[in-house]
Symmetry: C2
Subunit: 333 residues, 2 copies
């Protein structure tokens, strides 16, 4: 399933906002970010690369527009979300040693790990600068509130990433532990995207409760689908090698499911010092046989449905939101 | 020379502010930060460890107080500066592979590199949260302004760190390149410390020009003294192995001086795949012989004097500031 029109509705404006943020840097950091964000090739020449889905800015702006806000005024918040998200991608790629992202070599694999860290940090710092631009259209109290929402969700995201890493060394991770971890690692920033959209709409603060709940559930659905793609995804579509999460010994949902079912085969493979391609294929087949994939997909759908219910309270339903939910359930990248 | 009383004037309040920021985290990240900041031992038990100089918060609060501001109200800004600084230390230690910091094992060497990265990011994110607390005492416009000053100086610091790394791979680094790099890497945050102190004083915005100039010069002096200690410092006082900057092939001021003098011996050692203890001792002696150390110390003193002149315009002189300048010139750690 390809990206639905709803995810393209404000795409051009988001790209322009991102470019204007990155312009503040000097080369070569500017070029590294332009490459990572998909505008430049590795030599700094313009290129129409894979930019990723730009899901978080789209969710922020669709939410804002559906609540009668002006998405153009919320653009700096949308860009900040995308920059923070990309910061985490650049750093994850370094820490995981991943060579490919969006069909292209990762930043660290081209420029080295230390320069890539600087690039990641620059992305985050630029995000803060973006939020400042909100003061052109909104009262300062609202800008500070937006700042706090983003800061708090980043703190959750960091703690979720910490848990994710620590689970790699644990033999026993319960479904509850797992859901807590992804709620922070992925759910916090996605919830923040919706909340910033609501905060910057005329209804403001009072939308935050339902958006927090709906956004968090949507984040769970998104991450579990990501886990499925991290095992069974098609490299031609995901832009990453197939089975990569198994090779990295990640405790993703299908693996946690197998552990909960008492299937020790996963641990036996994960304990091996070198995991072969054959191990990965065998493990993926085993997980499929024991219905781990089906279970994950059911969870994705049920979290999407629960998210939809929460958002319906605010009148966020139909058209654009249906497209987003359908995409999250069925996406292949 | 030990820390002067001026650097202890607001120490207890700064520590309390830092502790209250770190309290927001869950263990074990909270324990890792408590360890790094010097309150806890590696097992999370209270300890009176080496906290470092806490120079940036002291500069911020001394500036604020000297300009008739209330340093207690500026505490969140002071804490934010220290958290950002410590973020950069935690990450530098990982990237440089350093095992010792302030006489104790570095965070990454105890908890591993990936958890240490999370700890670093947590420090950075907590710094942003600190600034928000300024809104208890100051108008929102001032809080946003403080936010922007910190954000801009971080962006400079990142670019300076990037240059620092890139110079390690360059054979020719001019004095001008070097001064530009340290002005960003170290000068930006120290200048920010003074500027935040001035911004939060009754004179506010109009103090920023002299504080920027005076702070930047003070930052140059501080870094060059650091470079001297990185070669000739006494491990018992610095808490880091002697000669470590030479072992890491850093283009510090004494090395840049030697290169400007056409002395190629440094490059010959830096090109070796393994630098021995003997190489380090020999190189340190050579640099001393060609007066690189004297030259560095002269620069420290002249930048201190120029900084003092700039700050005098605002009436920042005498007592506390004299203590700080004397310490920066003569410090052994």
């Amino acid at each position: 399933m390809s990206l639905p029109p709803a995810l393209f509705r404000y795409r051009a404006e988001v790209e322009a906002e991102l470019r204007s943020a990155v312009e503040k840097l000097d080369s070569p950091l500017k070029d590294m970010l332009g490459y990572h964000l998909g505008w430049l090739d590795a030599r700094g020449r313009p290129e129409a690369g894979d930019t990723g889905k730009r899901l978080r800015p789209a969710l922020c702006l669709l939410t804002c527009a559906s609540l009668d806000g002006d998405p153009r005024q919320a653009l700096p918040a949308a860009a900040a979300l995308e920059l923070v998200h990309n910061f985490s991608l650049v750093h994850d790629d370094i820490q995981d040693g991943d060579l490919l992202r969006r069909h292209r070599p990762t930043v660290w694999s081209l420029w080295g790990k230390r320069p890539a860290f600087s690039a990641g940090w620059a992305l985050w710092t630029l995000a803060l600068g973006c939020l400042q631009k909100l003061s052109r259209s909104f009262p300062m109290s609202l800008v500070l509130r937006a700042d706090r929402l983003l800061q708090e969700s980043c703190l959750e995201m960091i703690q979720g990433q910490y848990l994710d890493i620590s689970y790699e060394g644990k033999e026993r991770v319960s479904l509850e532990d797992y859901l807590n971890m992804i709620g922070k690692k992925t759910g916090a920033l996605i919830a923040c995207a919706l909340k910033l959209g609501g905060l910057l709409s005329p209804q403001g603060e009072e939308t935050l409760g339902p958006l927090e709940r709906g956004g968090r559930l949507l984040g769970l659905a998104f991450q579990i689908k990501d886990d499925v793609l991290g095992i069974w995804g098609d490299e031609r579509r995901t832009g990453k090698p197939g089975g990569s999460d198994l090779r990295k010994r990640k405790k993703t949902l299908p693996v946690v499911y197998a552990l909960e079912k008492g299937r020790r085969e996963v641990l036996e493979v994960y304990r091996k010092p070198d995991i072969t391609d054959e191990d990965v294929l065998r493990l993926a087949d085993l997980l499929e046989d024991i219905k781990a994939r089906d279970y994950a997909q059911q969870l994705v759908e049920s979290y999407c449905d629960r998210s939809r219910e929460e958002l319906k309270v605010l009148g966020l339903s139909g058209g654009d939101f249906d497209q987003v939910f359908d995409f999250l359930k069925e996406r292949g990248h």
